[in-house]
Symmetry: C2
C-alpha cells in the first residue's frame, strides 16, 4: 500500500485556495459538475449533508410558526415585469421556456408548440408566491401568513462553482405577509436571528449579523439583513439573507386585505433564504489540507468504525465487536437524535479507508483490531486533530463520552473560526489604510471602517479594490461610535464591514 | 350561524364523482390551480400530507439500502434521443428551454441568448442519471449503486387535474444499477413490495400488485410492475411503478463495468417512483360526502382539540385543559412518533371549526367545554364515523386509548376499501360479459379475465370500451388457472385485471 501522503489534498490552502476547494469537494465525494451548463450533481455524501441541514432548519422554521407549501417552478414573464427593481435584478440571466413539445425534423428533435407567453424557471419566487398570497389574504384575520418553500431555483451563471455559484441550486425561501410594517420587520429580524443561530450552533460558523447597504440589497427590498461568514482565504461569504419588502411586492401582486379598521390595505411582506451555498461555506470555513471537516451536528455520519482485520481468523470477531460498539453508540443521543454511526466493513486496506473518511470529514473515527478484543480498548481519532493523533481508551468510555466528544469538536471548530475571524479583522480609519489592508498579498480580511458613502461610492470601491460593504454590523462592539466616513469625510454613525466576497 | 348542512360536500360522490373530487380538494384546502398552465399550488395542508408521505417512504428506502442524491433539472435534448422507445414516450409533451436571458424590446421582456442545444425540463431522469452512473461505475465493486432522488418533474398535460395529472408534480425516482439481471430484477420486486406495503400500512389502500402488459409498460423498460388501487368510482389508479430496464439504458448511457471475470459488461438497471398522485389516490379511496378522510399515519394533524368556550369567564380554564390534554396526547407514540396534536384556539364558532376539521379529514376530534372541566370528560369524534357521532369518555381514557383509536381508524379505512374492491371485482369469461360489466351505468370495477391478446388488441379495447389491462396480478387467487383468452380464444396462463383507469 502506498505511504500516506503528508497532506491528502494538493494543492494546500496556502498554495492555491480556489483549487484546494475544488479538490476538497472532489476528495470528499460531495458533488461534481454535470454536462448541463453550470448545473451540479449532488452526490450522496453531499446530499446527506444537505438533508441534515434541511431537517434542522425546517424544525427551526416550524418552531417559529411557519408551514411549508409548494409553488410552480415556472413564472410567467409578465409577473417579473410587475416589480420594476426586481425584474432588473433577476430577469437578465435566467432559463426561458418557450415551447412545450419536441418534434422530429430531419432526424433531429426540435422545439415545437411555441407558447404564447414564455415562462422563466424561477430564480426566486416572490412574484409567483405573491399571486397566491393575493388569493389567500382577504382580511386581517388571514394574517400573518407564514410560509416556507424548499425548492430548486435557477440563475444562468456564467462562471459556475460547485455549491458556491451554480445555475441550479437547492434552497429554502420563506415568504410571509403581515398586517403592519412593525410585524413584518419583527419577522425579518426573527429569521435573521434563526440564521445566525443555525450557523453558530449547527455549522460552527461565527457569522457577523448585520444589515446590507443599498448597493447590496435584494432587488425590491427596503431592508436586507445578512449573516456574513469569513472563510479561510479571509473573504466574506453571504450565508443567508432576510428581506423586509415593505409593500413593494404586495402592491405589485395585489395582496390586499380588509384591516381591523375596515379599510383596504396592502400587506407588508418579507422573504428570507439559505441555499446549498451553506455547504460551500462550511467547507471553506473548516476544511484543512486533508479535506473537509464536517460540523458534527450536520455530518451524515458522525462516527465511523473501522475494523482492523489483518488475519482472516479474527475477522468475524472484530466485525462483531464493531457492530456491537455501533449499537451502543446509536443508543446515545446528540442534540435529541441518536448518534449516527457507520461500520465500514469493506474489504479495502485500513489506510485507504482511514484516509477516505478523513477526506470525507467524519468527526470521529474509531478503530478496533484483534488485540483490542482482549484489552477492550478502542483507538479514537478526532477530525479536528492531526490524522495520526489517536487516543486509546476503553470501549465503554468511548461510548459514555461520545456526545461530549462530538460537542467538543463542534466547540473547537467554532473557536478556531472565531479566532481566525478576530485575527483577520481590523479597524481602519482612512482610505489609505483600507487600501493597504486589501493590497497586501497575505493580508485582507474584514476591515471595520466608518462609512457614509453612496451606492455609487461603493460601486467605485468595488471596481478599484474588489471590495464591498458586507454589512452594517448589529453588534455595537463592531459598530463602534460615530466618526468621519473614510470615503467622504461626512459624519457616519458607526463602522461597517468591508471585505472581498464570494 | 348557518345550520350545518346534511353533507359538507356538494355534489355527493354518487351525484358527480369528478366534481365531488374537485370540491373535496378545495374544501380541505389541499391545493389549487395556479395561473401557470397545468401547474398547481400545494397548500400547507396538502404539503404537510406530502411531507409525511415523503418522510415515511424515505425511511423505507434507506432501510433497503438506498441513498438520496440530486441531479440536474434540465436534460439536453440529445440525451432523450439515445433510448429510442424512451424518446417516443416522453419527448412529445415537455417544457423546452431555448434561451438563457430576457431582454427589454419595445417595452416588453423577450427571450434572448439562444442556446446552441435546447434543454427539456426533466419528465423523468433515467437519461441524466444514466450519464452520472456511467462516470460512477467502473468495476463490479461499484455495484450495486442504489440511488433515490426527491424532485419536481414536468410533463405538459393538456387536461390537468389537481394531484392526479398536473404539468409539474413532485415525486421520488429510484435509480439503481446492478451486476446481474437477477439482482436488478430482485431490486425491482423489492421496491414493488415496498410500495404495496406503504399503500396498505400507511395509506390504508389495498392495492393489487402485478405486472404490466407490453401496452402499459414504461417506455424503455423490459418489465414494469405496478400497484393498482381501486377508488370509489370503481376506476383503477396506478399508484406506483417499478421498472426492470435490462441493459437498455446502460447501453444508451454507456454504464459499463469490469466484471468479476474481468470482462467489460453493461450494468443492469432499474427505476421506480411514486408521486403526489398518491394524494389524489387516497382522497378518492377514502373520502366521503363530508370531505377527505386522512389515513392516520400520514395525517399532518392526527388529533385536533376543539375548546368549547360559550362564556368568556370559563374560556381560560377550558383552553388550559385543552393544552394540558394536548401535552399528554403528544406523550403517546403512534408507530414510533409522538401523536400529532393541534389545539384550535381560534375565535370562531364551534360548528364552523368542527366542520372545517371534518372537511380536512383529521382522524380524531376532541371537544372540551366548561362542563367537562368538572366531569373530567371529553367528547371524542372519529372521522371514519358520522359527523354527529360522539363518544364521551374520561380524559385519561382518551389519552390511554388514543393510539388504539388511531390504529382502529386505519384498520376501518383499510377494511372498507378492501370490501369495496371485493364487492366490485368480478370474474368474466367472455368478451360479452366484459362489455356488459363495463357498459352498466352503476357497475364497472375490476374484471378478472383470461387474456392472451397483443398490445394491438389492448389498444382496440381501450378505444372501444375505455378499459385497459391494469396488471397481471401477482396473487394466485386473483390470477387463477389457465383458460381461453376472452379476446382471441388462445390459451392464457391466467387472468388479468381489466378496468377503466385514471
Amino acid at each position: 500500500m502506498a505511504k500516506a501522503p503528508q497532506n491528502a489534498i494538493s494543492p494546500t490552502r496556502a498554495e492555491d485556495f480556489p483549487e484546494w476547494y475544488q479538490q476538497v469537494v472532489r476528495a470528499a465525494d460531495l458533488a461534481e459538475n454535470s454536462e448541463v451548463r453550470g448545473c451540479m450533481v449532488i452526490k450522496p455524501w453531499g446530499y446527506g449533508l444537505w438533508e441534515r441541514i434541511q431537517r434542522q432548519l425546517d424544525a427551526m422554521f416550524k418552531e417559529t410558526g411557519h408551514k411549508n407549501a409548494y409553488f410552480p417552478l415556472l413564472i410567467p414573464v409578465s409577473y417579473l415585469e410587475k416589480e420594476a427593481t426586481h425584474v432588473e435584478g433577476f430577469a437578465t440571466e435566467c432559463a426561458v421556456v418557450t415551447h412545450h413539445r419536441l418534434e422530429l425534423k430531419d432526424g433531429k428533435m426540435v422545439p415545437s408548440g411555441e407558447l404564447t407567453e414564455p415562462y422563466v424557471i424561477r430564480p426566486t419566487s416572490e412574484t409567483i408566491i405573491g399571486a397566491a398570497f393575493a388569493r389567500w389574504v382577504q382580511s386581517w384575520r388571514d394574517l400573518p401568513l407564514l410560509i416556507n418553500q424548499w425548492a430548486n431555483v435557477m440563475r444562468w451563471e456564467m462562471r459556475p462553482r460547485l455549491f458556491l455559484r451554480t445555475a441550479e441550486f437547492l434552497w429554502q425561501e420563506g415568504h410571509t405577509a403581515h398586517e403592519t410594517p412593525e410585524e413584518a420587520m419583527a419577522e425579518t429580524k426573527l429569521m435573521h436571528g434563526v440564521y445566525e443561530r443555525f450557523l453558530r450552533d449547527h455549522l460552527a460558523i461565527p457569522a457577523i449579523p448585520g444589515e446590507k447597504t443599498e448597493a447590496e440589497r435584494f432587488p425590491g427590498a427596503l431592508n436586507t439583513f445578512t449573516v456574513e461568514a469569513m472563510v479561510q482565504d479571509r473573504k466574506a461569504i453571504q450565508a443567508g439573507t432576510s428581506h423586509f419588502l415593505g409593500q413593494n411586492f404586495s402592491k405589485a401582486a395585489n395582496i390586499e386585505f380588509e384591516s381591523r379598521e375596515e379599510r383596504r390595505e396592502f400587506a407588508w411582506t418579507t422573504s428570507w433564504g439559505v441555499s446549498t451555498r451553506l455547504i460551500g461555506t462550511l467547507i471553506m470555513a473548516h476544511g484543512d489540507d486533508d479535506g473537509v471537516i464536517l460540523p458534527p451536528r450536520v455530518a451524515p455520519t458522525q462516527v465511523v468504525i473501522l475494523p482492523v482485520t489483518p488475519k482472516p481468523e479474527t475477522r468475524d470477531a472484530v466485525i462483531a465487536a464493531c457492530r456491537e460498539l455501533a449499537a451502543q453508540l446509536r443508543g446515545q443521543s446528540f442534540h435529541g437524535e441518536p448518534v449516527l454511526v457507520e461500520v465500514d466493513e469493506r474489504d479495502l486496506g485500513g489506510g485507504v479507508k482511514n484516509w477516505e473518511w478523513i477526506k470525507k470529514g467524519v468527526p470521529v473515527r474509531l478503530e478496533i483490531g484483534p488485540r483490542d478484543l482482549e484489552s477492550g480498548n478502542v483507538a479514537l481519532a478526532r477530525r479536528d486533530r492531526g490524522p495520526k493523533e489517536k487516543e486509546f481508551l476503553p470501549m465503554a468510555d468511548a461510548v459514555r463520552s461520545i456526545v461530549a466528544t462530538l460537542q467538543s469538536i463542534h466547540d473547537t471548530l467554532l473557536e478556531r473560526a472565531s479566532a481566525f475571524r478576530e485575527a483577520n479583522t481590523v479597524e481602519v480609519d482612512s482610505m489609505d489604510a483600507l487600501k493597504a489592508f486589501f493590497a497586501s498579498e497575505t493580508g485582507g480580511g474584514f476591515a471595520l471602517a466608518h462609512w457614509a458613502g453612496s451606492a455609487g461610492d461603493e460601486d467605485a470601491l468595488a471596481k478599484e479594490l474588489k471590495i464591498t460593504v458586507r454589512c452594517i454590523p448589529n453588534d455595537p462592539a463592531l459598530r463602534g461610535g460615530p466618526g468621519p466616513c473614510i470615503g467622504t469625510g461626512q459624519p457616519a454613525e458607526g463602522r461597517v464591514v468591508f471585505a472581498k466576497a464570494y
